[in-house]
């Protein structure tokens, strides 16, 4: 026991020293043992002589190990391990030149990390679980190469049932630790918007993009919400992907004017309040406090904007953002084809409904 502690200390100490030499360009691999006697990845690729840090995580319900063998030696190593098992050993790592690296048996929910230098010569180095009974089906191969891998469908080095699918690891994981339901809202990088973007997905598969930098609705789409996988899986360079079809885009310089001038009001975003998963945005246009809540229309694709303007002492004008839409407001007067005028009283609480014109343009 004491000796073991010393050994562990020494290993820790030495591995610290070694990181000095070893850290550069380490290939880090996380491999999982998953249910169905398989590894989640059946092919790994590392350059010759690369430092590899391989972590095996056992997410299965039974123990597994991992042995990397000399090229072509997988079945021999499996046989040797079986021999060990027969002799009553519970250590299934044979002492043999054919074994290059090994992670000993780990129990469910355990993980184990090893670091090693990949062989300097190119080749296909099998790996396999040698727990009795697993070796025949639970294997894969490390390609030590700088080149592309051969087609999976004809690769003899992976189990036959894994030659068609790259799918086991790609089963869509949940997005969040709660159900993926609508309405939903994300602050994220949206296309055709400023960098302080907001995406809101509503019931009825109507979604909209709101710009917190400019305090305005940017566009509305139908048929889905957004896909953030690319954005989340990278460093954030990839934008959110819109799922569906944009049918409304506000193409004005700014949709509201306060008073008679053409000046664009100064904007200040104040935040939002969530109610039943719908946001109500709060912002200032000049000194006027505005709230805006957007709900879907269900008959024809569209939205209803529920707005309040408080502290207004001049009239308010709203300018249509796109002409081939149907606009309806419960307050104010359309003073021409595109401009709605509201008195301060009318603007205290009003709605603007914008729907697709199903009769065509």
């Amino acid at each position: 026991m004491q000796l073991r502690t010393i050994l562990v200390f020494s290993v820790i100490f030495l591995s610290n020293l070694l990181t000095v030499f070893a850290q550069t360009d380490t290939v880090r691999i996380t491999l999982k043992a998953i249910s169905g006697l398989q590894y989640d990845q059946v092919r790994l690729s590392v350059p010759p002589a690369a430092w590899v840090e391989l972590t095996l995580i056992n997410t299965d319900e039974m123990p597994h190990n991992w042995i990397m063998t000399q090229p072509g030696a997988r079945e021999d190593v499996v046989d040797m391990s079986l021999e060990l098992a027969k002799q009553g050993s519970t250590d299934y790592v044979p002492e043999s030149d054919k074994v290059l690296q090994a992670i000993p048996l780990i129990l469910p929910e355990e993980k184990y990390t090893i670091s090693f230098r990949a062989p300097t010569s190119e080749g296909i180095y099998p790996y396999v679980c040698t727990y009795p009974g697993h070796g025949a089906v639970m294997y894969g191969a490390i390609y030590v190469t700088n080149n592309q891998l051969p087609p999976l469908t004809t690769d003899e080095n992976v189990p036959p049932n894994r030659r068609n699918d790259e799918n086991v690891a790609e089963e869509k994981p949940p997005k969040h630790p709660y159900p993926d339901i609508l309405p939903a809202m994300y602050r994220t990088f949206m296309p055709n918007c400023g960098p302080a973007g907001i995406a809101v997905g509503l019931l009825g598969d109507i979604s909209y993009c709101w710009d917190a930098g400019q305090c305005r609705l940017r566009y509305v789409w139908k048929g889905g919400f957004i896909d953030l996988e690319q954005h989340w899986s990278g460093k954030g360079k990839e934008l959110a992907e819109i799922v569906g079809l944009v049918f409304y885009r506000d193409s004005t310089e700014f949709p509201f004017r306060i008073g008679e001038g053409q000046e664009i009001p100064t904007v200040e975003f104040l935040g939002y309040e969530m109610k039943n998963r719908y946001p109500t945005f709060k912002y200032r246009l000049n000194d006027v406090e505005v709230t805006e809540r957007i709900v879907p229309t269900f008959e024809t694709p569209g939205i209803k904007r529920m707005l309040t303007f408080s502290g207004l002492n001049e009239s308010l004008r709203f300018v249509k953002g796109q002409h081939n839409m149907l606009y309806y407001s419960n307050q104010g007067e359309w003073e021409d084809e595109k401009t709605l005028r509201l008195s301060p009283e009318e603007a205290q609480e009003f709605t603007i409904t914008i729907t697709e014109n199903m009769s065509g343009i």
Partner: protein, 506 residues
Amino acid sequence: MKKHSLVIVVIIWIVAGCTLQPIEREAGMIDDQRIDNFYSVEDVPLPEGLTAEIGGMDFMPDGRMIVCFHRGEVMTYDPREKTWELFAEGLHDPLGILALNNWEVLVMQRPELTRLVDNDNDGEAEEYLVATDDFGISGNYHEFAYGPAYNGKDLYIALNCASKNAGIWDEVRGETNMLGEVAGMYSAVEYRGWVMKLREDGVLEPVASGFRSPDGIGFDLEGNLFVTDNQGDWLGTSTLYHVEEENFYGQISSLVWREGWNGDPEEMPVSTLDSMRTKAAVLFPHNIMSNSPTQPLVIPENSDFGPFAGQLLVGEMDFPRIVRVMLEKVNGKFQGACTSFIDSAGLSIGNHRMVFGPDGSLWVGKSAYVWVGDRGIQRIRYNGGIPMDVLRMNVIPEGFKLTFTRPVDRKMAEKPDNYRFSRYYYAYHQKYGSPRMDEQPVAVKQVQISEDGKEVLLTLAEMIPGYVYDLQIGQLSSMEGVNLKNRRLFYTLNELPTNQTALSSR
């Protein structure tokens, strides 16, 4: 027993060093390997479906931990019940959190510092209010925002520069200045590369410039502000800065946002830029100590966390390590040493955010993005006892004074060749990182040990300001035979003291 361990060390050294056999770094959940006697590491259970890349962690007064995650969730964790609850969602890459009370938290996300309020005490925030968004965002993916650090009065945040691997968007928020688009990381919108202060009256004002990727901001016990920065252009190696108002810390792009600034920083001579900058209090040697330092966190006074109260811990992304920093003021300026606080012993890599819990244990949140890292949360508990370690490393005019946590074994400690020093510096230049420059061994001329055996005074052949002094201690144990835990220390020698320092006569 000592003989044994030496033999084993040598054997492992030969095996590991010469034939490059596998080195065991981490042994999952095998219990006795996750404990290094004085501290033990355990994994915190997480809810199903959570991508546990942690941007910020704090504790609410009622004992719940509040954590924000890469995909925008903010969740609370009750350590007694081991239950997670959703507090807020939909935020953009939150990278910092501060609990104000049991119903209000501040979260730093890409576009703003946001105050989340749970008005009806149902455990879920209804209000998401802007605390400040008075800084630029260009849409460049690397413009992360960090903080807030709170000193009881003002809130401090740090703004990452943009990456040269992407441009800026046609539509940006805030003023632009393309003179800030220098080679390497750049600052094309206002206050990128700055540390900012949000005053109590809600005004966000610039504090200090010259940061590149300052993914760590925090205060020490005296209210001094420290920020870490990452090796890259203008950073030969990663740094810990003591941040004071109006200082410039070296990455040049942010200079364009200085009041009254005009001109192109790139056209200035490097020597001028060098003379303008405030040097790092501590350099973390790349590939040895730290490749990517994260949050600095002070160990509270009177904490039940071992002998290092008042010192800073710094998270590290690439190694299974938390770094410990020993600071002192020399000629009025902070400088000091770094070493490991914990290495491996069950700790994984990706150590991004840390917080002390009400019970005194240290909670460590992991992150990776697509850089080197990990996911999850680990908890480090102090098991009592005093590890054998260097408690303090102080500079003296002719060398260093090491103060140990326990009296040293004099036989081992008195040998000068048991202390291997080298010194080197890192170049200040536009190029990404710097090799160790002018690396030379430095001989230890004399070793003096204090009466109580805790202090060891090392007289060195030369002491040159501007160099990192890299110390490797050989076999050393305490009088009682406890082995020295961390044998490698790096002292950033910016200033040499002028007054004489002697061994204290305790």
